[in-house]
């Protein structure tokens, strides 16, 4: 604990907190100062996250997780921050997305309301903290921090649609928070501990009479997380809130459903692993069913979506459903594929949310609705365009860049070759068909696997149709051709995110090796537990 490197773990929480607090007292008119401070903070967070990732990937990180004891209290009594490869990966992903969305918002959105930078940094702090914490109640506190900031950000820019969607969003999350508390206190009531590693240690010692109570607590806790993760039927708030929010905000929110998935994955592997005895694989059937239903709901919504931001919101749902179902099936190879999918889909959906705004600029309000209506009722008679005239049309450079970005996004989200979305889906499907190393799968589960493959591929098909239709309407059809004014600062973050996805594809080998090693570690929770509670000398309850 004496080396300075050990204190790096706290920095992703501390730096945004301090910076956000400082920004609160700086006058709104000194926008450049505020923007500079935020940029520096987020870049520093990203750098620290990369350092942590490097540390966690080393030989020491493989054996056991690194632990930061707040106030230096020993583990089950004090709160700990735990860093393993998964949390380091999530920190880096959050940092990348935060940097891209912040740069994008500097073009105009930061002026749409007050305290944008503070809210943004508080959201980052809550996310980082939730990824790092090893304590259930501390997780609740970080959840509340990020939710409170996200309430402000959903409403950023104000207006009728945002306030209405924001109210639904806040109400549903307040109820979810209540459920979270009920679940946490039930777990505490049964086990007498809130430390995740300690919960994992004690779960096998639960008396038979208390088991039902613990299951109820875990299920209620699970519902609270699944509301955040966006599982059907707990996800009806999501499309409204995401499509009403300002585009950079919605892009950053793309990581929030992944947070719900992260917690579900972390806790189910830690607590309900094979060592849990009768509680092993608790709730996994629900995750598979719910995840599959989410994918179906998302696909149908995608086909019915009439504007680009709704299209993006339903893509969020599809990716959330895919991740949850893989968490339910949950063998190590599957988790590796899911982690690859998580990184790829977060980056691409984030980029797509920002792109929607730029594309929407080129078209009049209501054009989207009109386009779909035209398609539904037939518009063959109106287009008698002379072929020779059409050949000579020069596509403006801006539109070309936007169109190219849109195509890349579409490929990524639909999971088509050659980009990383395809690699991710390939890994998942391969894990589904390869029973080696899987946990005990009975007869009916095999049927479930087939169903999941079918749903996964069909969702990709639905995404192709929806994206192709939206793309044709946005880029090939605008007859009056208003070229949107797009600034470099707006298109650069999108291109950066997409280039990262391309790099993910190019270096798919090393990345796959990394995520699979991460998944292997996750499936052996003793490393995590050993890191938090070094000697297993603590008596059971």
């Amino acid at each position: 604990m004496s080396r300075w490197v050990d204190h790096l773990i706290i920095l992703p929480v501390l730096m945004p907190l301090v910076a956000a607090a400082v920004l609160l007292v700086i006058d709104e008119r000194r926008r450049k100062t505020k923007a500079a401070i935020s940029l520096v903070t987020i870049t520093a967070c990203l750098a620290v996250a990369l350092l942590l990732l490097e540390g966690a990937s080393g030989a020491a990180g493989l054996a056991r997780s690194a632990v930061y004891r707040l106030g230096d209290w020993p583990a089950p009594f004090g709160i700990v921050l735990v860093l393993d490869r998964l949390s380091a990966l999530m920190l880096v992903l959050t940092g990348v997305l935060a940097l891209a969305t912040l740069v994008f918002s500097l073009a105009s959105w930061d002026r749409a309301g007050s305290h944008f930078f503070s809210l943004f940094l508080f959201l980052l702090m809550g996310l980082n903290g939730a990824f790092l914490t090893g304590d259930l109640f501390n997780l609740f506190v970080f959840f509340e921090i990020l939710l409170a900031a996200s309430y402000g950000l959903v409403l950023h820019g104000s207006g009728r649609a945002r306030v209405r969607a924001g109210m639904h969003y806040i109400a549903i999350n307040l109820v979810a928070s209540s459920l979270f508390l009920v679940g946490v206190s039930l777990v505490y009531g049964v086990l007498g501990t809130l430390n995740m590693a300690d919960v994992a240690l004690r779960v096998s010692t639960i008396a038979d009479g208390d088991r039902l109570l613990f299951e109820a607590g875990a299920a209620i806790l699970g519902v609270a997380f699944l509301v955040k993760a966006g599982m059907w039927p707990l996800s009806f708030w999501l499309t409204g809130a995401y499509s009403a929010a300002a585009p950079p905000v919605a892009a950053f929110f793309a990581i929030m459903t992944k947070l719900g998935f992260y917690i579900v994955l972390r806790l189910s592997l830690l607590v309900f692993g094979p060592e849990a005895g009768g509680l092993a694989n608790f709730g996994s059937a629900w995750l598979i069913a719910g995840g599959t239903a989410t994918i179906i709901f998302g696909s149908v919504g995608l086909l019915a979506a009439q504007d680009l931001s709704r299209l993006a919101s339903y893509s969020v749902l599809i990716s959330a459903g895919t991740l949850l179902a893989t968490a339910g099936i949950g063998d190590a190879a599957m988790t590796g594929g899911a982690l690859f999918y998580l990184v790829s889909s977060t980056l691409s959906i984030g980029a797509f949310f920002m792109l929607t705004e730029l594309v929407a600029r080129s078209r009049a309000a209501g054009a989207d609705v009109l386009a779909v209506t035209m398609e539904a009722y037939g518009d063959d008679d109106e287009e008698e365009v002379d072929e020779s005239e059409e050949v000579g049309v020069v596509i403006p450079g801006t539109m070309a860049i936007l169109g190219l970005s849109f195509t890349v996004c579409a490929l990524l989200i639909a999971g088509l070759p050659p980009l990383s979305g395809f690699v991710a889906k390939f890994l998942i499907v391969r894990a589904l068909f390869d029973p080696a190393g899987s946990v005990d799968i009975g007869g009916p589960i095999a049927g479930v696997r087939w169903m999941f493959v079918a749903v996964l591929l069909l969702s990709g098909f639905a995404a192709v149709i929806a994206m192709a239709r939206a793309g044709i309407r946005s880029f090939w059809l605008p007859l009056d051709g208003t070229v949107p004014l797009v600034r470099v600062i707006e298109i650069a973050p999108i291109i950066c995110l997409l280039v990262l996805c391309v790099l993910l594809t190019v270096f798919a080998g090393p990345v796959t090796g990394f995520v699979e090693a991460t998944a292997e570690i996750l499936h052996v929770p003793s490393g995590y537990v050993e890191g938090v509670i070094p000697s297993r000398s603590f008596p059971g309850p």
Binding site: V141, A148, G152, L181, S185, Y188
Partner: protein, 114 residues
């Protein structure tokens, strides 16, 4: 005592959920408050119900579990109260903003056409 507390939690949670499902924003916020009261009482009850025992050690005395209450749920309740108070205040602001922008206190921003 357990029965009284259980009935109290049940009544608060039940009324809270019922109000939460009502169409007026004011009813929703009162419902959320009642629900959070129920949750706070529930957290307290998870530390086992004992009356007349302190949650902290007397100075110079060895700890004896039969004479002390569990301090952790009490700390949790304090945190939960503070957070729910703050978020309720925030929700109240959104409620007023919605009322001002839409001219309606319906949760959907407009009266349903019947």
């Amino acid at each position: 005592m357990e029965v009284v507390l259980a009935i109290g939690i049940g009544a608060l949670a039940g009324s809270g959920v019922w109000l939460l499902l009502r169409p007026r924003t004011y009813q929703v916020i009162i419902g959320l408050s009642l629900l959070s009261y129920a949750v706070n009482l529930f957290i307290l009850s998870m530390g086992r119900l004992r009356s007349g025992v302190p949650p902290i050690l007397d100075p110079g005395e060895a700890g004896d579990l039969s004479r002390y209450a569990d301090p952790v749920p009490q700390a949790l309740v304090l945190t939960a109260i503070v957070i729910s108070f703050a978020v309720t205040a925030l929700f109240l602001v959104v409620l007023l903003a919605s009322r001002g922008l839409t001219g309606s206190d319906h949760v959907d921003g407009s009266e349903p056409e019947s």
